[in-house]
């Protein structure tokens, strides 16, 4: 245990807040309380599995009142009977084995809970409870009080039971069963022991093998026939055509072989081939179950909201039931679900979901408030203007981009190769057939089928899934989560990168303010705070919030010189605040740091430093990227920071300001019309349109678990400076694929040389096929890891 860090949550302890309890140090009361709960219930094992696993419980007073509403609860429950209810809750904080342990021991904390089971990859806990002893609301409060606040949104409300598709696993199971048994039964013939008993039982063995191959041929491989048929109908030659052809030919030829007693056939190779290819499919199917890439406004909005009835009573209503004219109560940290007019005197609304701007906006009574804002501070009341579906933010989602959800017109790399491979293969088969037909008709048929069998592009088809699957995993470990393997290919093709400004290249977090210079005493601080009260400059507002509360004093004179600073007289003291030129001090204003200098009664005191809010490594990243890509910065803000950005970023970077969400979308569209392959990097909901329109939308997120708009990939904000590496890595991945394509073609050539000469033994096929698979798989695995290590 680190003495400086909280025993419960691992955060650094500020000396003044430190709480010592049971010889352990905690950063705040919340963490201490959780520890208390656990220790009183004999659950301190929680801290044994992982050091400092917890989270500080948040204040949730009243937030889950809607769980009193029967109708809503019913919708959330998975299973409902008189004495048994089952609910699955999504808990973003689940991250280690301690979490699993504590959540599976919930029954020790609250009577009425019968069992709870964690699904770690999905970050969900499934709780079985008795509604007569406890309620969903109590459970949610319990979870919140121990720092595991569940995340309940409108999305949970709408989604029915998700059907899990397990066909691939069944197919693999069946294929493996057949493959294994066929292999065992084939062994005697591989060694061609010309013994009496082999001769006698040959027929039995062969027909048994035939029977065993049927499930693989009919069921496991069915996906390939469907896909091949579809691609033939649409006139595209994808890789599944030679695969399906190979499988069918193998089956027919082998059947003919055993019927006429020509040989043992290629059933073993066929079953193995199908098994390996399905395995490749499974490998590529890496999913991040706890992340959702298709988020729309539903996942942001709360399920229910408090409505104030005309007689003053409060009631929880579903968000969809809100009508024009309703009065709503919005609590601290609650999201405003609809557009409306503020009734309460004052509100401070954080629109960071919508705009990415973290500084809350002050609203007064009668002002319009928009859906998507988050109230910070006191409870406010508002009157509804539009229903959910008509609000501005939700309207944005009715844009076409979200409707069509692009039917992948993108062709993957394997299909592009197979466009040449398939015709070449067919041509070769036909040419050799014609050549042999003049010599010997039987051999001609043998050669024709042998070519199709041996060239069945198993290794070729496996290359891309294994490489890309591996790349997905490696990127996932580095906190770049991509939706699927196709995104890696697209990443490698990007030539233009568009960045959003606020929240993407700048951080969302409030920037720290530090003071440098002679310490100010309390009376000086009081004067400073009072002077700042009069100023509306953003820096003044932030500094005002930063200085602790002071007694109010009126300023006797106050003058604000725009762009320079403030000159004020207060209680007979003269105070000068502002830029270095204004105060004529020596310290220069660098573009990295914004400073507000303080001078009291003509004596220079020091300066408040507003630390750079641009993300770490931004300059290096842009300098790096500028070598290979066109860079654009799109900003919804005015061009106030233009000069700073111009200085920081490479000169080639295009800077565009004052862009509304729709304009961002159009800008991307325009670039695409010029033939560019655009990657959009954004964060807030205001980028959602642009992210969907771009060829590849990458969303930057401070908290990967909760908020990100629909996109192709989610990048943890701490990894922002690694974007250049990711881009390079995706290119290397493609290079790996090409190399291994070469390798697998080599195998094909070797196999074909046997085939065209009419000398393909089943045993040769049975050796070449797995050998090529193993080579390819190990080759790409080694190479992708090698590239990942090299930075």
């Amino acid at each position: 245990m680190d003495a400086e860090n909280c025993f419960h949550c691992g955060n650094e302890i500020l000396k003044k807040d430190e709480i010592v309890f049971d010889e352990k140090k905690f950063c705040c009361n919340g963490c201490k309380t959780v520890y208390e709960i656990f220790s009183q219930n004999d659950l301190t094992c929680y801290y044994d599995f992982q050091a400092a696993p917890g989270a500080t419980p948040q204040d949730i007073q009243g937030k889950y009142d809607f769980l009193d509403n029967e109708e809503i609860v019913t919708k959330l429950l998975e299973f409902q009977e008189r004495t048994t209810h089952i609910v699955s809750l999504y808990i973003p904080h689940i991250h280690c084995s301690s979490c699993i342990w504590i959540l599976e021991n919930l029954q020790k904390l609250q009577p009425g809970i019968n069992a709870s089971q964690v699904n770690f990859p999905e970050k969900k806990v499934r709780i079985t409870f008795n509604p007569e002893q406890t309620s969903l609301k109590d459970i949610v409060y319990l979870l919140s009080s121990i720092g595991y606040e569940p995340y309940i949104s409108l999305e949970n409300f709408d989604e029915g039971k998700k059907k899990i598709d397990r066909t691939l696993i069944y197919k693999i199971g069946v294929a493996f069963f057949c493959f294994g048994n066929i292999m065992l039964l084939s062994f005697p013939e591989y060694f061609e022991v010309e013994e009496y008993w082999i001769d006698q039982y040959r027929g039995f063995f062969r027909w048994l093998i035939f029977g065993l191959s049927l499930p693989t041929f009919i069921y496991s491989a069915s996906g390939y026939y469907v896909s091949a048929w579809k691609s033939m109908k649409s006139g595209l030659l994808n890789i599944d055509i030679p695969i399906a052809l190979g499988i069918v030919v193998m089956f027919v030829r082998s059947t003919v072989d055993i019927v006429f007693d020509y040989g043992q056939g290629f059933f073993d190779s066929m079953a193995g081939l199908i098994f390996f290819m399905l395995l490749g499919k499974l490998f590529q199917k890496k999913t991040y179950d706890f992340l959702s890439f298709e988020r729309d406004y539903k996942s942001y909005f709360p399920i229910a909201i408090t409505k104030v009835l005309p007689n003053g009573d409060e009631e929880s209503v579903q968000v969809y039931d809100i009508q024009k004219g309703d009065r709503l109560l919005i609590r601290n940290q609650e999201l405003i679900p609809v557009d409306g007019i503020l009734i309460s005197e004052k509100a401070s609304i954080d629109y960071s979901f919508v705009t990415g701007e973290a500084v809350p906006i002050e609203k007064k009574s009668g002002d319009k408030v928009f859906a998507g804002g988050k109230q910070m501070g006191k409870v406010i009341e508002m009157e509804v203007l539009f229903s959910v579906s008509q609000s501005y933010l939700t309207q944005l989602w009715s844009n076409d981009v979200f409707q069509k959800r692009v039917e992948q017109q993108h062709k993957n790399i394997t299909d592009r190769i197979s466009r040449y491979f398939t015709p070449a293969l067919l041509a070769l088969a036909i040419v050799s057939f014609i050549y042999w037909i003049f010599i010997d008709v039987t051999t001609a048929f043998n050669v024709f089928t042998a070519i199709l069998i041996v060239a069945c592009p198993c290794a070729l088809a496996l290359t891309a899934p294994f490489t890309l699957g591996n790349v997905l995993r490696i990127l996932g470990k580095r906190k770049l989560y991509l939706k699927n393997a196709l995104v890696v290919e697209q990443l490698a093709k990007v030539d233009t990168i568009v960045f959003d400004k606020t929240g993407t290249i700048t951080t969302n977090k409030k920037t720290a303010i530090t003071y440098e210079g002679t310490e100010l005493n309390s009376s000086e601080l009081r004067l400073l705070k009072n002077v700042l009260r009069g100023s509306n400059h953003p820096l003044s507002r932030r500094l005002y919030d930063f200085i602790p509360n002071q007694e109010k004093v009126e300023t006797s004179s106050f003058e604000e010189i725009i762009g320079k600073g403030i000159f004020a007289e207060i209680e007979g003291n003269t105070i000068k605040l502002g830029s270095s030129q204004f105060l004529k001090t020596m310290t220069e204003n660098t573009h990295k740091k914004t400073k507000v200098h303080v001078e009291i009664n003509g004596v220079y005191k020091g300066s408040y430093v507003f630390n750079n809010q641009y993300r770490k490594g931004l300059e290096e990243l842009f300098a790096d990227l500028a070598k290979h890509y066109n860079l654009v910065v799109l900003s919804g803000d005015n061009d106030g920071e233009k000069r700073i950005l111009e200085k920081m970023l490479p000169s080639k970077t295009t800077l565009v300001f004052n862009q509304k969400p729709e304009q961002k979308l159009q800008y991307i569209e325009q670039l695409q019309k010029e033939g560019k392959n655009v990657m959009m990097v954004g964060d807030g909901l205001n980028d959602a349109g642009a992210l969907a329109q771009s060829n590849l939308g990458l969303s930057i997120s401070e908290n990967v678990n909760v908020f990100s708009p629909a996109c192709d990939g989610i990048l943890d904000a701490t990894q922002f400076d690694k974007i250049a590496f990711f881009m390079q890595y995706s290119k290397n991945a493609m290079k790996t694929i090409y190399m291994s394509f070469g390798l697998s073609l080599l195998y094909n050539v070797v196999g074909l040389s046997y085939a065209v000469t009419g000398a393909l033994d089943p045993i040769v096929a049975a050796i070449i096929m797995p050998l090529s698979t193993i080579t390819i798989v190990s080759f790409v695995t080694i190479l992708t890891n090698l590239y990942a290590g090299k930075k």
């Binding site: 309890f21 009183q40 004999d42 964690v118 699904n119 990859p121 069944y170 069963f177 048994l208």
Partner: protein
């Protein structure tokens, strides 16, 4: 020698039984979460401390600020 028919039939039947068991296991959702069970099985070894809960409450009184 016809015992080979019997033996192979038995072996295939056993294999089919395993295949069915596998399919059933998948169907019941055992393969949906392949991480949590691996952690869960380690919890059974926890040592349940039979400590007197009074002790903890005492410390709370002494140490809380």
């Amino acid at each position: 020698m016809s015992v080979i028919y019997l033996l192979i039939s038995i072996s295939i039947i056993v294999a089919i039984a395993f295949l069915i068991a596998f399919i059933k296991a998948v169907k019941s959702g055992q393969y949906d979460d392949d991480y949590t069970p691996s952690v869960r099985m380690l919890f059974d070894d926890e040592i349940v401390k039979k400590e007197n809960p009074n002790k903890l409450i005492q410390t709370e009184k002494q140490k809380s600020i």
